[in-house]
Each structure stands twice: as C-alpha cells, then as structure tokens.
C-alpha cells in the first residue's frame, strides 16, 4: 500500500494488471452497448485511481471496493453525459461499421456476466430495483417516484435483494 501511495510505477502496473479486467467488467455492465466509451471510462478510472490514491482510507474498506466504486460512479456519470446520449443516436448504424475487429469478441451478452448474472436469480421485483439503483445510479427517492412505490419499500426491497445477493456470492 505504501508503495502505491508513493505512486510507484511498478505497483501501479501491477494494480492495473490485477484489477483492470474486473473493473472493466463492471464498467461494461453499466455501459452495455458502447465498447469505445467503456474503454474510455476504464482509462479515466485508472487515472483517477492514480490521482486519488492518497485519499483511499483503509479503515473504510478494501482497496478493491474503493476502486469498484470509482469505476461504478465514473460509468454512471458517463451514462448520463451528453457524449453518451449522442452516441446512442449513432447506435442505429450497424455496430460493426465503426467498431469492428477484436472488441467484438468481448461484446458478449452482458446480462451473462458479473453481478448481473447473479441478479438473474433474484425475484423480478427485486431485480429491477437493484438494476436501477446499482447499474443506473438512481437514488432510492428517484426509484420510488419512477415506480410509484413508497420510499420505505424501495429501501427494504433493495436491502433484501442485496442480502440475497450476498448469499449467492458466497
């Protein structure tokens, strides 16, 4: 950890090699349909990790948790950005026209990877809430508004869903 805080090049390379794939997976579960923007986010995430490493506080959780939340937040920010909204319009073009090549092989069905796969096991009414909260970044209040259910219910269902998730992850 000390080495990282001293911005040790080698340590950062190691960090990348070890975690980039896992973080890229979560990024792609949020930015499901644009490999180019997903890899932009991955890049931004690691630059942020590098810049903010001093602010990581061990008492608040594991390093991976910290990085995962940076990745999730950056992905959701991207999801809501103008650039992303615009790119959505271009999506009407056939995918392989401008993406082409290697990346296509990783464009698997994202519903079958990572947490989303685990989410499949949840009850639909629970799943949709976790989907909205975790992968779309909506607040509990926004979800309550959207779905016209009481805030308390949203909270309880999400909590319950997360508890089930914990069991599935074991």
């Amino acid at each position: 950890m000390l080495a990282l805080k001293e911005r040790n090049n080698q340590a950062f390379g190691f960090l990348y090699d070890n975690y980039a794939g896992a973080l890229y997976s979560i990024i792609k579960q949020i930015i499901t349909d644009n490999n180019e923007l997903a890899s932009d986010v991955l890049q931004e995430v690691f630059i942020n990790i590098w810049r903010k490493i001093e602010t990581y506080d061990q008492t608040k959780g594991r390093l991976f948790t910290w990085m995962l939340n940076i990745a999730r937040n950056a992905s959701i920010d991207m999801l809501r950005s103008k650039g992303y909204q615009n790119s959505q319009k271009n999506q009407e073009l056939p995918d392989n026209v401008y993406k082409g090549g290697v990346s296509q092989t990783t464009q698997q069905n994202v519903d079958n990877i990572g947490l989303k796969k685990v989410l499949e096991k949840l009850k639909p009414e629970h799943r949709v809430l976790v989907e909205l909260a975790y992968f779309k970044g909506f607040t509990h209040e926004e979800i309550a508004d959207m779905m016209s259910i009481p805030l308390g219910t949203v909270k309880t269902r999400i909590r319950n869903a997360l508890l089930q998730l914990r069991e599935y992850l074991k």
């Binding site: 980039a20 794939g21 890229y24 890899s39 690691f46 630059i47 959780g61 999730r72 990783t106 997360l162």
Partner: protein, 275 residues
C-alpha cells in the same frame, strides 16, 4: 442496538456497493470503529464481491494501459503475461551497422533519462523541502516575537531530542530585596553547557548600564555575558558554562565588569541539579 440485526439488515451490502445514503454511511463508519465484528462482516462481503468480480474479469483493450501510463506521465512497465508491451527484439542485417551499440545506446539513453528524471524530481523535492523549512522558520520567528517562552521551550525540546536527555535545568531567578520585581529564567543545559536566558521582567536601565549574568561556581562568580532589558520578552543565548551552583544577575556599567557588583544584585537562582 442489536449488532446482529444491524449486520443482517443489508447495510453492509448497501455500504460496500455504494448504495447507502450519506447518513447511513456516516453511521456505519462510526459503528465500524466501535465493533470489530462489523468490520469483519464487511470485509467478508467485500472479499466475496472482489472474488466474483475477478472471476468475471473481461479482457481489457490493450491500448488502454498504454494510454493510462501516457496520461500519468510514465511509461508503462512491462507486465507478466502481456506480450504487447514487451516486444521481442529483432536484429536485422540492415540496421546492424553497430549491432551491439544500437539498442544498447537506446537503453543507455533511456536509463540516463530515467536517472535524470529521478534527479530532477529529487531536486524538486529538495527545493520544496527547503522552501517548507524556510516557511517553518519564518513561522518560528513570528512565534518567537509573540511568545519568547514558547520558542525557548522548543529550543530546549530540540536539544533534548538531539542530545538525548541533556538534563536541562530551569532556574527561576527571583528578585532580590533591591529589585523585588525582577524576574528571569535561566535554561541551563548541563550536557551542552548552553545557557539561555529568558527575561521576563527586568526594569529599564540608564544607557550607560547593563545587566550582567553570572554563574556562581564554587562560590566564585563567572561572567556569562551582559544584556539589556529593552525588550521584555527576550531570549538570550549566554556564554556556556559547564558548572554552576547558582546564577545571579547584577547591574554593571555598559559592557560588563570582570567581577560582580554584589550590592547591585538584581536576582538570583540556585541551579539544583537532580543528577
């Protein structure tokens, strides 16, 4: 509060996954500092998330790593298992005019550049450090102007640190009958023989007169230097003395006298060493 219920409430998962509200987070962090079981449960969930995420890792676009290291201003270190960042060396006949020197020089130049960079970074931090030291010193002077006592304590502290336990003796100089209000402190460090004088209250003297500090060694006065009482809170570094049973301050003609005028003794204090 029932900790078990709290642990089973889903708060850990909300917290770790970044879904907890600001107040929930604050409460959770506060309780974590209190209950190791809670931290252990959090850690367990974090580990399972991490394991799952790593299991589900996707291959990353190879250019991303290069771009990241470009952005942070360093070259990407070669990684195990990554072939792209460590291309095999191929010597062709065409460019082998100096086959050993070509790549060798390049590597040498790269190494030199790295060393130069390290040197520059080092210099930068040196300069920064020096600047910080100057700022600190400046602050120190401001403090000295305000509270002489503080800075003196700091000097004593520093000396204690430097020498170990130097047995600094603080001698409280009390006024004599002829000058009951006079007071000063002598800080005598018997290890380094340094003597510091803090003038707390010494009456102003006519221009042709000065105070003189004496160390009494085996009954004989030894001159430790003269001082004015122009500034009330003043620290003075006096002459060193290895021995002293007591200190005394007298009023003498400007420049001091070889021996004290005892009837003009202003204050006196015993240096009781507890060694």
């Amino acid at each position: 509060m029932n900790l078990k219920d709290y642990i089973e409430s889903g708060i850990i998962e909300s917290y770790v996954m970044g879904l907890a509200t600001e107040s929930e987070r604050a409460e959770f962090e506060r309780l974590c500092a209190q209950y190791p079981e809670l931290v252990a449960a959090r850690r367990k969930f974090e580990e399972s998330i991490e394991a799952s995420a790593k299991e589900q890792a996707l291959p990353t676009p190879p250019e991303v790593k290069v771009k990241i290291f470009e952005a942070i201003g360093k070259s990407a270190p070669s990684s195990l298992g990554s072939t792209s960042s460590n291309p095999p060396k191929i010597h062709t006949m065409e460019n082998s005019k100096s086959p050993a020197r070509g790549p060798g020089m390049l590597r040498f130049a790269a190494a030199a550049a790295v060393i130069l960079l390290i040197g520059m970074v080092w210099l930068y931090f040196q300069a920064k450090q020096q600047n910080q030291d100057l700022v600190k010193e400046n602050d120190g002077l401001k403090i000295q102007r305000d509270t002489a006592q503080n800075i003196l304590n700091r000097i004593v502290q520093e000396q204690k640190q430097a020498i170990g336990d130097p047995n600094t003796t603080v001698v409280n100089m009390v006024g004599t009958k002829s000058a009951p209000k006079s007071s000063a402190n002598v800080y005598w460090d018997s290890a380094s023989s340094s003597v510091y004088l803090v003038v707390k209250n010494m009456p102003q003297l006519p221009n042709d007169q000065q105070y003189q500090l004496w160390a009494l060694i085996d009954g004989k006065p030894n001159d430790l230097g003269v001082f004015d009482a122009t500034n009330e809170k003043l620290i003075l570094k006096m002459k060193n003395t290895k021995k002293a049973q007591a200190f005394a301050i007298t009023i003498e003609k400007r420049g001091g006298s070889p021996s004290p005028t005892l009837e003009k003794m202003q204050s006196m204090g015993k240096a009781t060493q507890t060694q």
